[in-house]
C-alpha cells in the first residue's frame, strides 16, 4: 500500500497548500484533519495544520518531504471549525494558513504539544509537618499562603502575590501538600434585577427562539437593561447544557461583564489580548472542552471553538473596534453572525445606537427587531441641547453656559462628564513669531504636544521627540500650544474648579494596568467630580452619579473624512448622553458646536437616534454606500512616492471585466504616514457576489505583478474607514 499524502496549511502569505509525507513511525489511521505537525520548510521548521489526507500529489514523489512529528493526538480543530475558517479565508480573500493560525492561541502556533493546560485554582491538601519544609523556605511560604485561603487561589492571584510560584507549586504537589482545585463559586455575585415589562417581553421573545439560527437586533436605549436580558437568556441556555459566547468591543468592558455574569451557575472565562498567552490558552481550552459555560471576549474571541454552542451575543455591536485593522481584516460582529448561523444558535446584536447596517437588516426583516425604549428602574431620559459657540467668550474650551451648568450640578454633589476625543495637551505647537507649526517628518500631520511627558508625539506613526526650546525656522523661544486636548482641558478644569476632583480617562492617563478600574472605582464612590475623557469614557461603563454630560467639540465629527463619520458622531453623542442620569436624577446633555444648524445634528438632538438613523440611511441609499452598496478597498503603500500609484495603475490595467465600480487610484486622505506614501482603489458594488467574483479573479493577477514587489499592499473587505 502506498503512503498517504498530507495536505497541509502553513502560516504564510502564499495562497496555496503544501503536500508532505506522514512522519516516520506514525500509523496512518492516527492522522486526522485538524491536527498540527512539525514540518521542514525551506531551511527551517514550521508548524503546519493538517487539512486532508489524500492518495496522491501533483508533485513528483522525489520532491515530497516528510513531516517530522505529529504534535496532536486528537485534532485541535474540528471539521466544523475548519469549515468555518475556510469560509473566513474565502470571504476575506486571505491566505488560508494565516487564517487558521490566527484562530489558534499563540502557544499553539508553536511546536509545543497542546498539553493539558495547568489548572486555574490551587489549594492546600494538608498542612505540612513542622519539619517537612524546613529546608525549603519558599515552598513553606507558598504553603502558608495557601493555608490562608482554604477555598483555593486562582493562578492570576498567585502570579501577583507570589512571583515564580509555579515550580514551587509543582514541588508542593509532588509532596502531596497541594493540589489543583475547582474554582470556588464566586463570593457574592450581584443579585438578579427585577425585569420591567419591556425587558420581560424581549426575554420571552428571545426564549421562544433558542433553537436554531435566529439573528436578533436588541435596540435598547442606554440604561434600559440589555445586560440583564443577556443574563436571563444565558441562564436558559446554560440550563440546556449549552455555552454562551459574548463579544464586547473593549478589554476595559470585560471585568464589568465578568462580574455580572458571575452569578450564573457556571465557569465564566475572559478571552482578550490583555491576558497572558497562558491565560488565553487555558480560556481557549475551557471553551473547547465545554468547561466554561460563558466566554466573554473581544473580537478575537469569535474564533473560540465552543464545544456546545447555545447563544452568541455581540454587545455594543455598532462599535468600530469589532473590525480588525491589520492582517486578517475581519469584523468580529459579522463573523459572529456567520458563527451563529453555522452553529445554528440564536444571535443577539445589542446596542443603544445600532449600526446603520444592522438597522437596515432589521428593517428588511432579516433580523428580528426588539426594542427597549425605557430606562430600567427609575432613570428618566436626559434633556439634550446644542450650545452655539459662535462669538462666545470661551474659558479655555468651555462656554459660559456649560460652566454655569457644571457649577450647578457640582454644587449639588453630582458628577459631570466631559467628552473630548483628543488626547494630549494641544493638537498644535506654533511659533508665535513666524507661524511655524511642529509637524511629523514622517506623516502629513502635526505633532500633538504632551506637556506632562514634555514630548511632541505623532498620533499617526507614534514618533516622539523632545519639545524644542526654540523655533527651528526663526529661532524664537515663544512657542505656544494651540487648541485643546484632554490634558490641557484638565488643567483648565483644575484652575476653574480647584475644589472638585478631575478624573481624566484617556489612553495616556490609564496606561498602567488597573488604573482605569481605579479611576472608575473612584467615580462610583460618589461625590462631586468631573470626569473628562476620550471615547474610552463613552463606552458602556456604568457611572450612575453623572447628571450632566457634555460633548466639548462636536465639530470634529461633523468635519470627518469618512462616510461613516456622522454615524460615529451620532453614536458617540447618544452614548455620551446615555451616561447622564442613569441614577434617579434626570440627566442633562450639552453639545458645544459652531454648527448648531447642521441638519443631521438637529435631527439627532430633537428627534433622537432612530430618526437620525432614518435620515442617514436615506443618504446612504442615495449614495449607494453600505448597507446599500458593498465596499472593498485595495491599499498600497511604499516609501517611494510613485510606487503605490504605479502598482495600482498596473493593477487596474489587469482588472477583469466587471460591473463593479472602481474608484482610484487616489491618494489616501493622509497621503504620507510613517514615512510611507499611500494610495488606494475603492471598489463599490450594489451586490456582493459580483464584487467577490471580481476580487477572486483579480487577486492572482495582482500578486503576479512585478510592481507588487515594490509596495506593501492589502485588501480590506467591508472596510470600516475608506480614508
Amino acid at each position: 500500500m502506498s503512503e498517504p499524502i498530507l495536505e497541509l496549511a502553513l502560516a504564510t502569505p502564499l495562497r496555496r497548500r503544501f503536500d508532505y509525507l506522514p512522519p516516520a513511525g506514525v500509523e496512518h489511521h492516527r492522522l486526522q484533519a485538524g491536527q498540527r505537525l512539525l514540518v521542514p520548510f525551506g531551511r527551517s521548521r514550521r508548524v503546519a495544520l493538517l487539512l486532508a489526507v489524500k492518495d496522491s500529489s501533483a508533485l513528483p514523489a522525489e520532491r515530497l518531504r516528510r513531516a517530522e512529528r505529529l504534535l496532536d493526538e486528537a485534532p485541535l480543530l474540528t471539521a466544523a471549525e475548519l469549515d468555518f475558517l475556510h469560509w473566513v479565508a474565502d470571504y476575506y480573500h486571505h491566505p488560508l494558513g494565516e487564517v487558521l493560525f490566527h484562530a489558534l492561541p499563540a502557544p499553539l502556533r508553536q511546536a509545543r504539544p497542546a498539553r493539558a493546560p495547568e489548572p486555574d485554582y490551587w489549594r492546600l491538601r494538608r498542612p505540612p509537618d513542622p519539619s517537612e519544609l524546613k529546608r525549603a523556605p519558599r515552598q513553606a511560604a507558598l504553603a502558608a499562603l495557601l493555608a490562608e485561603h482554604p477555598e483555593g487561589l486562582p493562578a492570576a492571584r498567585l502570579d501577583q502575590a507570589f512571583p515564580g510560584w509555579r515550580p514551587l507549586m509543582k514541588q508542593l504537589v509532588r509532596r502531596g501538600l497541594a493540589c489543583a482545585s475547582a474554582p470556588p463559586p464566586p463570593p457574592s455575585p450581584p443579585p438578579a434585577l427585577e425585569l420591567n415589562p419591556e425587558q420581560q417581553a424581549a426575554l420571552t421573545a428571545l426564549e421562544a427562539r433558542l433553537d436554531g439560527f435566529h439573528p436578533c437586533l436588541l435596540e435598547g436605549v442606554t440604561g434600559s437593561g440589555k445586560t440583564e436580558v443577556y443574563l436571563r437568556l444565558a441562564e436558559a441556555v446554560l440550563a440546556r447544557g449549552r455555552q454562551v459566547l459574548v463579544l464586547v468591543p473593549e478589554i476595559g468592558l470585560t471585568p464589568q461583564l465578568l462580574q455580572r455574569f458571575a452569578r450564573l451557575p457556571t465557569r465564566v472565562v475572559a478571552l482578550h489580548s490583555g491576558m497572558s498567552d497562558g491565560e488565553r490558552l487555558r480560556a481557549w481550552w475551557a471553551a473547547r472542552r465545554g468547561e466554561a459555560g460563558v466566554i466573554i471576549g473581544t473580537r478575537s474571541a469569535v474564533f473560540a471553538p465552543l464545544a456546545r454552542p447555545g447563544l452568541v451575543v455581540v454587545d455594543e455591536e455598532h462599535d468600530p473596534s469589532f473590525k480588525q485593522q491589520e492582517g486578517l481584516r475581519y469584523s468580529g460582529r459579522d463573523l459572529a453572525l456567520v458563527r451563529a448561523q453555522r452553529w445554528e444558535v440564536p444571535l443577539i446584536l445589542g446596542s443603544a445606537t445600532p449600526s446603520l447596517e444592522s438597522l437596515h437588516h432589521a428593517r428588511e426583516g432579516r433580523y428580528h427587531h426588539l426594542r427597549l425604549s425605557r430606562r430600567a428602574g427609575a432613570a428618566r431620559p436626559p434633556q439634550i441641547d446644542c450650545l452655539d459657540l459662535r462669538g462666545q467668550p470661551l474659558h479655555g474650551n468651555l462656554s459660559p453656559v456649560l460652566l454655569e451648568a457644571m457649577e450647578r450640578h457640582l454644587r449639588r454633589g453630582e458628577q459631570v462628564l466631559l467628552y473630548l476625543n483628543r488626547r494630549g495637551y494641544s493638537p498644535v505647537l506654533l511659533c508665535h513669531e513666524c507661524g511655524w507649526v511642529a509637524q511629523c517628518p514622517r506623516c502629513d500631520s502635526r505633532y500633538t504636544l504632551h506637556k506632562g511627558r514634555a514630548r511632541l508625539h505623532c498620533h499617526h506613526c507614534d514618533k516622539t521627540v523632545a519639545v524644542p526650546r526654540q523655533c527651528p525656522a526663526c529661532g524664537s523661544v515663544d512657542l505656544r500650544p494651540v487648541g485643546f486636548g484632554t490634558e490641557r482641558t484638565e488643567e483648565v478644569l483644575r484652575q476653574r474648579f480647584p475644589e472638585v476632583p478631575v478624573l481624566r480617562i484617556d489612553r495616556d492617563s490609564t496606561r498602567r494596568k488597573g488604573s482605569l478600574e481605579a479611576v472608575l472605582e473612584r467615580a462610583r464612590a460618589g461625590g462631586a467630580a468631573i470626569l473628562l475623557g476620550t471615547q474610552m469614557l463613552a463606552k458602556g461603563h456604568h457611572l450612575p452619579q453623572i447628571t450632566l454630560a457634555a460633548v466639548l467639540d462636536a465639530d470634529q465629527g461633523l468635519h470627518g473624512n469618512d462616510f461613516r463619520a456622522l454615524e460615529r458622531l451620532a453614536q458617540l453623542i447618544t452614548q455620551v448622553s446615555g451616561r447622564a442620569g442613569r441614577g434617579e436624577r434626570a440627566g442633562r446633555v450639552l453639545i458645544q458646536t459652531h454648527h448648531p444648524d447642521h441638519p443631521l445634528l438637529t435631527t439627532l438632538v430633537h428627534s433622537g437616534y432612530p430618526a437620525f438613523a432614518e435620515a442617514a440611511l436615506g443618504e446612504r441609499r442615495a449614495a449607494g454606500l453600505p448597507p446599500f452598496g458593498h465596499l472593498a478597498l485595495i491599499r498600497a503603500e511604499s516609501p517611494s512616492p510613485e510606487a503605490p500609484e504605479r502598482f495600482l495603475r498596473a493593477a487596474l490595467a489587469q482588472c477583469p471585466e466587471s460591473p463593479v465600480i472602481r474608484l482610484g487610484p487616489a491618494p489616501a486622505v493622509m497621503e504620507r504616514r510613517a514615512g510611507r506614501h499611500r494610495f488606494q482603489i475603492l471598489l463599490i458594488s450594489p451586490r456582493r457576489a459580483p464584487l467577490h467574483r471580481l476580487i477572486a479573479a483579480w487577486l492572482p493577477r495582482l500578486e503576479a505583478l512585478p510592481e507588487a514587489r515594490r509596495v506593501r499592499w492589502s485588501l480590506d473587505i467591508d472596510p470600516q474607514e475608506t480614508f
Binding site: 508665535h432 513669531e433 519639545v467 524644542p468 526650546r469 526654540q470 523661544v477 515663544d478 512657542l479 505656544r480
Partner: protein, 117 residues
C-alpha cells in the same frame, strides 16, 4: 551656508527707558523657557531739525529665560531701562508691529505710580 549679512543689516540694538504698564504673569513655553512680557511706556524730550519736541511710544517688552522672573516681578509704574533688540511681534500681524526683546533690564526706580498730567 547662508551668506553673512551686510554689516548694516545685522545692526539691531536698542536702549529704551520708560515706565512699566500692564505686567503679564510669566509663562513657561512647552519647551521649558520662561517668558514674561510687559508694556513699556516711553516719554522723552528729543531734538529734531534743531527744534525741541517730545517723543512718546508704547511697546511690548519680552523677557525670556533668566530675565523672565525679574520682569514678571516688576510693579506697574516702575521705571526701567531695557537694552535689547527688535523683532516682529506676531506672525499674524504686519511685520511693522514690533516687540522689544530684552537682553538686560535695569530698574531705575522700583515702584512709583505714574503721574497723570
Amino acid at each position: 551656508m547662508p551668506q553673512p549679512l551686510p554689516r548694516a543689516e545685522r545692526a539691531n540694538r536698542l536702549v529704551l527707558g520708560g515706565r512699566v504698564e500692564a505686567v503679564e504673569p510669566a509663562r513657561v513655553t512647552p519647551g521649558g523657557v520662561p517668558i514674561a512680557t510687559f508694556l513699556l511706556a516711553h516719554r522723552s524730550h528729543q531734538c529734531e531739525a534743531g527744534l525741541p519736541r517730545e517723543a512718546w511710544l508704547r511697546i511690548r517688552v519680552l523677557a525670556a529665560g533668566d530675565l523672565a522672573p525679574r520682569a514678571a516681578a516688576l510693579a506697574v509704574g516702575a521705571e526701567v531701562e531695557v537694552e535689547g533688540f527688535l523683532s516682529r511681534s506676531s506672525y499674524r500681524r504686519e511685520p511693522t508691529h514690533l516687540a522689544l526683546h530684552a537682553h538686560t533690564l535695569r530698574i531705575v526706580e522700583r515702584n512709583e505710580p505714574i503721574h497723570e498730567e
